[in-house]
Each structure stands twice: as structure tokens, then as C-alpha cells.
């Protein structure tokens, strides 16, 4: 590695890093990718058809594996050994999900692949709140088209022409999987409320796609996919990048600093090998940060020099600012109408087959909150877990044949409604370096500050109200003790694992850290290509947009490289 000369160093191997590597290596550039976690190969490490009975504790979540034993996440979760973070005194809770594995969070993500809409790029122009992006939907639309075709996204349907819910052009999406029984069921209640239910866009190969395997319509996507039928950086982006011969990957390389030359350009990066503790510096003609919004901000803030005493690209104090997450909460219900349905295979394609896009764009004022949410709805007869007893009322005590009959009858009769909503960036949500706490290798860690605004808590209260109405219309009984106060019901900051916006793009160096192509204003050969560049946090889950933006930015970087402009 020491003798190689690289055109680009990419820090991170997830959605942004993987996409950047895919494009830059195909463009003929020599790329060194540095990943903080270990090597990971979903083809041989995915527990595809394992039952919970084969796992310790029947697969329930533990501090070692918070999302369950079979969740793909390696060496991570809400805590990463030896790599702490802190939350400022007086802050509302914030939690930070990190894996330490090749492909990052693309290995376990929810595979919900929704495009941002035109209004999402111009929120301030719409209602005076938040900030406008320096690009429009039309600027990104061609990259969404390309991304959907590469990622493999299901959910094609005739154009719906719904406001701010883009229809993909023909040929971008594969056919939607048919609604399952519970999806047919809930759709009727929404319809009665005048709310649309449409096919989900899922990053799952649901039909024939050249070079890819089709979904087996079994096993949860969160475990990863041994046949590469869903989108993971490790199955879709990195293998073709490696095949070019232009990509070198070094794992267990925790980057903590961008190094500058005398002229103030990026010379390379410094990292610590997580296994040996040794420090290394590597060089290249340009550097791409795609370590995830938190880690990318941390690297910039830790890159201090006489010219940048408060951290690289932070002259105007913008790094770490405008941190956002999705608003989230869920309410479940049990439905007598679904009891005793004939056995049916509800495993499906991993993501929901249908969902509810936000329907209230034109009545936000009367609703009392400025931005909306979509609804992700889960149910059906999924592989039983340790929560089976939860199918029964809390005070239920039957045994024997009576118990067996009740469980059989109620299996598949619960539905969970989860809202994912837009958050407006505010001055109380940001990250900075903790003045005292350091990680195992002596590198300062992030300290988070968080406070939801009224826009978000009012939206959360509306989610609960909507879900309770739907449950009622369907003749169901909500779970006990539903919290209706939005401020109490709302998720913790970071909990939706959509943290974005710590190095946002903008029009100039006073309002942003990077330009519309992720190129930093302060250091022209330093780029950011992950969720950190996002200016707003629409209700739509961010991964598809991270990939599309990274592709657009990588294309610009490749052009600059060819022009000798780096």
C-alpha cells in the first residue's frame, strides 16, 4: 500500500463511500478506501434461513447485538467498544448507531428507498422555515434514475401524480410485490380517511435484473442478503469497483484527521489501525469523506491546523451544525378481523409492500405543524419471536389447548404503524468535540446537543392521533398505554438512524461547508459524500438520496480530476 499512488482516498464504505468508489474506479481513478470496521462478506456471513431457536436467547436483542442476534451489524450498535460519544448536560437524549464493518449501515438498513420531492429541496421557499438546498429536484432526478437502476428498487406503479411524492420514470423500478393480507386490510381504513396507500419503493430485486439474483421472498433483509438480492454496498457497489483493479480497501482503519500540505490542500489522511493501535498516514491527490454524518464531522473537527484552529472547513463554525434526524414513533394494534385467517406466507420482500406517503401538504396550517410524515406499516404472519406471548392480552393466563388455540387464532393479527417525519434544523441540534473525553486511541470524541422543536413534537402528536383513528376504524385495540403527548412520544434524537447534515452544502462558504457537489469551500480537493451534506431532512428515508448525491458528486470529482483541477 505504501508504494501505491492514489488519486482519491475515500473514508468509509457505506452508501456514500461505496457509491463514490464505484464511480471513481470505473472512471479510471486509483482509489484507496479506508473502513474503520472489519472486512465483511454477506455471501458467507448472512444467516439467511436460521431460526431464532438456533440463536442464543432465541435471537432477542442484547447490549452486544441491540437489534437482535441475527442483525447484520458487526461490532456496533448504540455503543461501539472503545469508541464512546457523549451527550451535553441539559440536552435531550441523543443516541448514535454505528457499525464497524465493510459496507457500514447499508448491511442492515431498512431498504426503504424513497426519492425526496421537489418541495424537499426548497423548504424555506415553501414556508420560510429551514433552508433551501443549492440544487433542485430536477438537478438530482437523473441521478435518482441511475441510482434506482443500479441499486435495484421495487415498487413500480402507474403514475400517481401525488404532490412531492415523485413517480419514477418508466424503467427505473421493478414491479411491486403484491399487498399482503394485512396491507389490503389497512389500506381500506386509510382510503376511507381520504389518505393514499401506494407501493413502497424497496431496495430489493423483486423481478428479473441483469447481473443480480431475485429476492427469495423469505428471510429478513436486516440480516443482510447472501444472494445480493437487496442493496448492500458490499454486494452491489464494492465488487464491481474491485473488478476494475483500481480499488484498494484497507479495513480496521479509523481515520481521525485530514492532513494538509503547505499550500493548504489535502495531502491525505491519518488513521489508527483499530487492531494494532498503530498510526499511519496515507496520501492521495484528493480526499472524500463518507464516514457517516457524525464521524465525518468528527474528522473535520479533529483536523486542526494554524489555518483552521477550530477544525478543517470550520472557519464559520458550520461543521457539526444543522444536525438532523427523522421524527419517529410507532403504535401497534390487535385486530379481531384478522384473527383466524387461513395460514398464508407473509414473509414478502423484506420491506413493506405498500406505505402511506404524506398526504397533508396543502393543509399544514390547519394541522398545526409545518412538515409531514409518511407511514411504514408492519404486520402479517412473520417468523415467531420471543415476543409471541405479546399476541395475548396482558392479563391472559390460559394454558394447554386453550392457549394453543388462542395463539393460532391471533397469529398475524397485529399491525404496527410507524411514522417517519421531517425535522426542521434548529440551533439546538449539533455536535462538537467533547473537551475532555477521548477514545481508546486518544482521539477526542463527539459531544451531541439535541432538542426537538414544536414543529416536530406537534407532528408526533398527529402521528399518534392518526394511528389511533386507523386502529379504531379497523375495529382494533391499540397496545396498552399509548402516549399521546407528542413531546413524550417522539423518538430520541438519532434513534431513527437518519442523522444527517453536519457539513451541509450551500451557496457559499458562509452558509455551508461544501458546494452542491460536496466539494469543500475551504480545501478544493476535499469532498464530503455522505449524509452530512444534506440541508433538510425530509420524511423520506435518506439512503437513496445519499447514494444519488454521492454519484453526482463523484462524477464531478472525476471530471475535475481529468481536467487536472485537483
Amino acid at each position: 500500500m505504501a508504494t501505491e499512488t492514489y488519486d482519491v482516498i475515500i473514508v468509509g464504505s457505506g452508501a456514500g463511500g461505496g457509491m463514490s468508489a464505484y464511480h471513481l474506479t470505473k472512471a479510471g481513478l486509483k482509489v484507496l478506501m479506508l473502513e474503520a470496521g472489519r472486512n465483511y462478506d454477506p455471501r458467507v456471513e448472512t444467516p439467511m434461513f436460521n431460526t431464532n431457536a438456533e440463536a442464543p436467547l432465541r435471537g432477542v436483542g442484547t447490549p452486544d447485538k441491540p437489534f437482535g442476534f441475527y442483525d447484520a451489524t458487526v461490532d456496533g450498535g448504540w455503543e461501539v467498544p472503545n469508541e464512546p460519544y457523549t451527550v451535553a448536560e441539559g440536552s435531550e437524549p441523543f443516541i448514535w448507531w454505528r457499525p464497524r464493518m465493510l459496507g457500514g449501515r447499508t448491511n442492515h438498513w431498512g431498504r426503504i428507498a424513497l426519492r425526496f420531492g421537489p418541495l424537499d429541496f426548497k423548504p424555506r421557499s415553501r414556508d420560510g422555515l429551514g433552508y433551501d438546498w443549492p440544487i433542485t429536484y430536477d438537478d438530482l432526478a437523473p441521478w435518482y434514475d441511475k441510482t434506482e437502476k443500479l441499486v435495484g428498487v421495487s415498487g413500480a406503479y402507474p403514475p400517481q401524480n401525488l404532490l412531492n411524492t415523485p413517480d419514477s420514470p418508466p424503467g427505473c423500478l421493478m414491479e411491486a410485490a403484491p399487498p399482503r393480507a394485512f396491507e389490503i386490510f389497512y389500506a381500506r381504513a386509510f382510503k376511507a380517511m381520504g389518505i393514499p396507500v401506494i407501493p413502497m419503493h424497496g431496495a430489493v430485486v423483486s423481478g428479473q435484473m441483469e447481473g443480480r439474483n431475485t429476492c427469495l421472498f423469505a428471510t429478513p433483509c436486516g440480516r443482510g442478503c447472501a444472494i445480493g438480492a437487496n442493496f448492500q454496498s458490499t454486494t452491489v457497489l464494492l465488487p464491481p469497483a474491485m473488478a476494475t483493479g483500481n480499488l484498494t480497501i484497507r479495513t480496521n482503519a479509523l481515520v481521525y484527521q485530514v492532513d494538509l500540505d503547505k499550500a493548504g490542500k489535502a495531502r491525505g489522511v491519518s488513521f489508527v489501525d483499530r487492531k494494532t493501535g498503530e498510526h499511519h498516514s496515507v496520501t492521495a491527490k484528493s480526499v472524500v469523506l463518507a464516514a457517516g454524518s457524525g464521524e465525518t464531522a468528527r474528522i473535520l473537527l479533529n483536523s486542526k491546523s494554524p489555518k483552521f484552529p477550530d477544525g478543517l472547513c470550520n472557519t464559520h463554525g458550520m461543521v457539526g451544525r444543522y444536525l438532523m434526524d427523522s421524527v419517529g414513533l410507532g403504535v401497534s394494534g390487535q385486530f379481531p378481523a384478522l384473527e383466524g385467517l387461513p395460514p398464508t406466507n407473509d414473509d414478502g420482500q423484506g420491506t413493506q409492500h405498500t406505505y402511506v406517503p404524506w398526504w397533508g401538504y396543502e393543509k399544514q396550517k390547519e394541522l398545526g405543524f409545518p412538515r409531514g410524515y409518511h407511514i411504514e406499516i408492519g404486520g402479517g404472519r412473520h417468523m415467531p419471536s420471543m415476543g409471541m406471548a405479546g399476541l395475548l392480552p396482558d392479563d391472559e393466563t390460559s394454558v394447554g389447548d386453550d392457549l394453543r388455540a388462542k395463539l393460532r387464532n391471533r397469529f398475524g393479527s397485529t399491525i404496527g404503524f410507524d411514522g417517519r417525519g421531517e425535522m426542521i434544523p434548529n440551533d439546538d441540534c449539533y455536535c462538537e468535540l467533547d473537551p475532555t473525553t477521548k477514545d481508546k486511541w486518544g482521539i477526542p470524541v463527539l459531544r451531541f446537543h439535541w432538542k426537538w422543536g414544536e414543529s416536530e413534537t406537534n407532528q408526533a402528536a398527529h402521528m399518534v392521533k392518526t394511528f389511533l383513528e386507523v386502529i379504531d376504524r379497523l375495529g382494533g385495540k391499540p397496545e396498552p398505554h399509548v402516549e399521546t403527548d407528542g413531546r413524550k412520544a417522539i423518538s430520541k434524537g438519532g434513534e431513527m438512524i437518519h442523522e444527517i447534515g453536519t457539513a451541509r452544502m450551500g451557496h457559499n462558504d458562509t452558509d455551508s461547508v461544501v458546494n452542491q457537489y460536496g466539494q469543500s469551500w475551504a480545501v478544493p480537493n476535499l469532498f464530503v459524500m455522505d449524509g452530512a451534506v444534506m440541508v433538510s431532512s425530509p420524511d423520506k428515508n435518506p439512503t437513496l438520496s445519499i447514494i444519488a448525491l454521492a454519484w453526482r458528486s463523484a462524477d464531478n470529482l472525476a471530471t475535475l480530476a481529468k481536467q487536472g483541477a485537483l
Partner: protein, 213 residues
């Protein structure tokens, strides 16, 4: 129903032979009890292992949970009796004890994680209290003690009953036998998802009409 009440037939571990051999290495001597099974004996020697499986366990072929088991034969026997009171054999469905649920309860209460550590005294104290009434007692007394459990007003007993039943149901229905009993027919590779059958759709339609939807 099983023809022999659990009390009269020692509970036999259902852990497989490979696991049993490894397990014996940890806990010391146990009595060999025929092909693929061991009978619980008193555990001897060896340091108690209290570590979890770590943040990067093998997923495709999970290894046996590394922590030492803490339940003694009387507790396992009591767990077998209670698990079979909750889910006795019925038709083609096997009993809870025949699926090794007591072993699972042992794995659960022995685990080093916070949730399981919290459950430990609830289950262990409950089993100890119940054992007096179900081990070495008449069938009538045993039946009476078991029947009294769900209606007990004693907070500790209530908590024990609720938690033990929750664990038994979860452990039972996460097995292939449990899948069959409850009607889970997934976890099989398919070339396409055809969606629900006409029969299912017809039932749904009737129910939706009843709801005015």
C-alpha cells in the same frame, strides 16, 4: 398428552450431543444418558463463565451461548413440570419439555445481560418456591399447586408466572414444531410472492364489510 407425568420421569436435556460435550467441558461431570442426550447431574468444578457472546458472534452457525448455566436439577425438573403445564403435548404438537424449554430457561436466567439478570431472581425464586409443591408430592397436590399459579395474588408468584409463561411461549413457538403448531409456513425460498390466496382475500372482504370498509 404425555402418558408419564414429568415428575415421575427425570427431565432429560435436549441439547444436542456436540453441545453437550462442549458443555460438559465447562461445567464438569454430567451423566451420559444415551445417544445425543445427557441427564442432569450436579455440576462440579470449573470457573463459572459469565461473558456474553460479544459484538461479533458467528451468525450462520451460532455457537452455544458461552455463559455457564446456573440451574440445578431440582430447578430444571420444576421448570419441566411447569412448562408442560403451560404447553403439554397435544395431538401432533410435542410438549414444552420435550423441546428442551427448561434448557432454554436455564440459558436465559444464566445469561449476563441486563434483561436476563433482572429476570433471574424472579424465575429462580419462583422455581424454588414451586418445587416444594411439585417435586416428590402426590399427583393431586401437584395439580392443585399448578392450577393455583395463574390466579395467585402474591406479587412475586404473579411475576414469576407471567415471566415463566412468557418465556415458555416464546421459546416453544420459535422452534420448527412451534411454527407448525401456530401456522407459520414461511422461511422457504420462493421464485415469486403470489400474494394472499383467493380464500384469504374472501375472508378479508367479509370482515372489511362488517367494519363498513
Amino acid at each position: 398428552m404425555s402418558s408419564t407425568p414429568p415428575q415421575d420421569e427425570p427431565y432429560v436435556s435436549k441439547i444436542d450431543r456436540r453441545s453437550a460435550i462442549a458443555w460438559m467441558g465447562v461445567v464438569g461431570a454430567a451423566l451420559a444418558g444415551g445417544a445425543g442426550v445427557i441427564v442432569y447431574g450436579e455440576r462440579m468444578g470449573g470457573e463459572r463463565v459469565t461473558r456474553g457472546y460479544g459484538t461479533d458472534p458467528k451468525l450462520v452457525k451460532p455457537e452455544k451461548a458461552p455463559w455457564s448455566r446456573i440451574m440445578v436439577p431440582a430447578q430444571l425438573q420444576t421448570a419441566a413440570i411447569l412448562a408442560d403445564f403451560i404447553l403439554p403435548a397435544s395431538g401432533a404438537a410435542p410438549s414444552a419439555s420435550s423441546l428442551g424449554i427448561p434448557d432454554f430457561i436455564d440459558e436465559w436466567v444464566s445469561a449476563p445481560y441486563p434483561s436476563q439478570v433482572k429476570d433471574r431472581p424472579v424465575i429462580m425464586n419462583g422455581l424454588n418456591a414451586l418445587s416444594v409443591h411439585v417435586l416428590k408430592t402426590s399427583a393431586a397436590d401437584r395439580a392443585k399447586a399448578l392450577a393455583a399459579l395463574p390466579a395467585s395474588a402474591d406479587p412475586a408468584t404473579k411475576a414469576f408466572w407471567k415471566k415463566f409463561r412468557h418465556l415458555t411461549i416464546g421459546a416453544y413457538y420459535t422452534t420448527p414444531e412451534g411454527f407448525k403448531d401456530v401456522g407459520y409456513i414461511g422461511n422457504v425460498a420462493r421464485t415469486a410472492d403470489p400474494g394472499p390466496s383467493a380464500e384469504v382475500k374472501a375472508v378479508l372482504e367479509r370482515e372489511l364489510q362488517k367494519l363498513g370498509l
